[in-house]
Amino acid sequence: MSDKQVAMVMDLNKCIGCQTCTVACKRLWTRREGMRHQWWNTVNSQPGTGTPHGWENMGGGFKDGIAQVGHRPTVDEYGKAWEFNYQEVFYGGKDHVPLTPVDGDADKGPNWDEDIGAGEYPNGYYFYLPRICNHCTKPACLAACPRKAIDKRENDGIVLIDEDRCRGYRFCQEACPYKKIYYNETLGISQKCIFCFPRIDEGVTTACSRQCPGRVRFVGYLDDPEGPIYKLVHEHKIALPLHPEYGTQPNVFYVPPMSPPTLDENGIATDKPRIPIEYLVSLFGSEVEGVLDRLHKERERVARGEKSEMLDLLISRKWIEMFGPFGKHPRDVGGNPVQMVTPEPITDKGGVA
């Protein structure tokens, strides 16, 4: 049990699918050996198969408190990390060699169905869903690991895989219902989002939140009444967990997406939003309809000239306030130099006497 729980709220109305969060995380963390195919942060067009493809049908999590069997996604299901034949194209001395993935024609990548969505023209619909590890209060991964190699930090609830203890058994990969754990074949360990703990420990918010140009993400403590997370989740109650039925009590919450109305057979707008409410309910639970209703009403109030604390919070005129206690600038705190030591000599004798 953690004393405090760090949490994130993502406003899906703001997300523009640019994947800056995805790239920010990749450039900072998942660039070591064995991590090429890892995307700790993903953004997918929903409805869609997501990343890994079809993850919502891969089991895991809890049902009535009982651990559910889950599928361990393959690298292909996550989306392969294609490499390309640049040298051959540019310097191979042939007239026209096209740029192609080195391993042959691409299987589906992690954002393959970008902007496709569902529905029928002119009533197609889609929105963008960014996802990270939810640093759940009841993590299925932590419960599944036979070596207790996964730990939930007491001071802030960040869930971390101990890469020294991990033996790459990957029960965690199967157990996580959100399928946010990757396997590093080179190092033989499982890896996932670390909620940028080196940054958080210095008071700097996560890279995915800070680098998001859309200003999608709020970061703070779930139970801090002064902070934006508490207000959005507990006070205004417009930020909802994704797939709460997975039973892990995720600590990433979403403000659900509004959408323009459907058009009837003459092309005239109806009064129904085109993202079917049933679909949103299947993602966020039954409260989502009430949330959209309240967003609509608050917008109308503001259009009439009234003030709305809820919408002001979503606007966040001062960007840095979106990150609560994690508003320090990286340049002001980070970069502490690595401690250097003299190595111990390596002997080639075993320890045997």
Binding site: I66, A67, R72, P146, R147, F171, G350, G351, V352
Partner: protein
């Protein structure tokens, strides 16, 4: 089982070396680890009604030359290429007093394990104090060579004789105990999902 004293263990490094045919082999009975002893609910749930650890016996023989002990193990169960988990064999020995083998060691009765996997020619040295509590083991000079024939693995594991901190003692003229575990990778066996040799087998190093 006796570990016969030979002149030079180096002739016995290869599992297909002819000299092994003169060494008596012992059949070690194996069975799946009990599902109820798997440390987490997830593992118990996901392997419920899913068979594992179906290797029912290993063929084991051993020689030593006073410096190095060679242990040859053969068993049925070669996985196809590209399996997510490798075939593996672990050889455990008590460091001091031996705990029940199924417990994988106890805090005051740790065991020393040498583990071979098909995906890595270098052995792991593991110190285990209980289920789910294994950690990096002591440095020892050890090696392995494996061969496959008709779906069977033949493995020779070697280890320097001697005693040391956290090292299972192997002393000429003395006895110790040895236990085995086998994982069949194609069945996604890993961690506690394996076949094991139920109880310790006595191993005496001929003087």
């Amino acid at each position: 089982m006796d570990s016969r004293r030979v002149k030079n263990s180096s002739s016995y490094l290869s599992p297909v070396a002819g000299v092994w045919s003169a060494i008596e082999a012992v059949e070690v009975r194996m069975m799946p680890t009990p599902l109820g002893m798997q440390p987490t609910e997830y593992i118990r749930q996901s392997w419920n009604n899913k068979p594992y650890g179906s290797v029912d016996s290993l063929s084991v023989s051993s020689v030593h030359d006073g410096k190095t002990l060679a242990l040859k193990v053969s068993w049925q169960g070669v996985s196809p290429e590209g399996s997510d988990f490798p075939d593996a064999l672990a050889v455990a020995m008590p460091i001091g007093e031996s705990p029940p083998l199924a417990l994988m060691g106890m805090p005051d009765k740790p065991i020393h394990i040498l583990r071979w996997t098909a995906s890595n020619p270098i052995l792991s040295s593991i110190l285990s104090k209980g289920i789910g509590l294994s950690d990096h083991g002591p440095s020892v000079v050890a090696g392995a060579e494996a061969a496959k024939q008709n779906g069977k693995w033949h493995l020779v594991m070697t280890r320097q004789l001697g005693v040391g901190k956290n090292i299972a003692p192997l002393v000429e003229g003395k006895s110790t105990e040895v236990g085995f575990a086998v994982w069949y990778g194609a069945n996604e066996e890993r961690a506690g999902i394996k076949a094991f040799s139920v109880d310790w087998l006595n191993l005496t190093l001929d003087a």
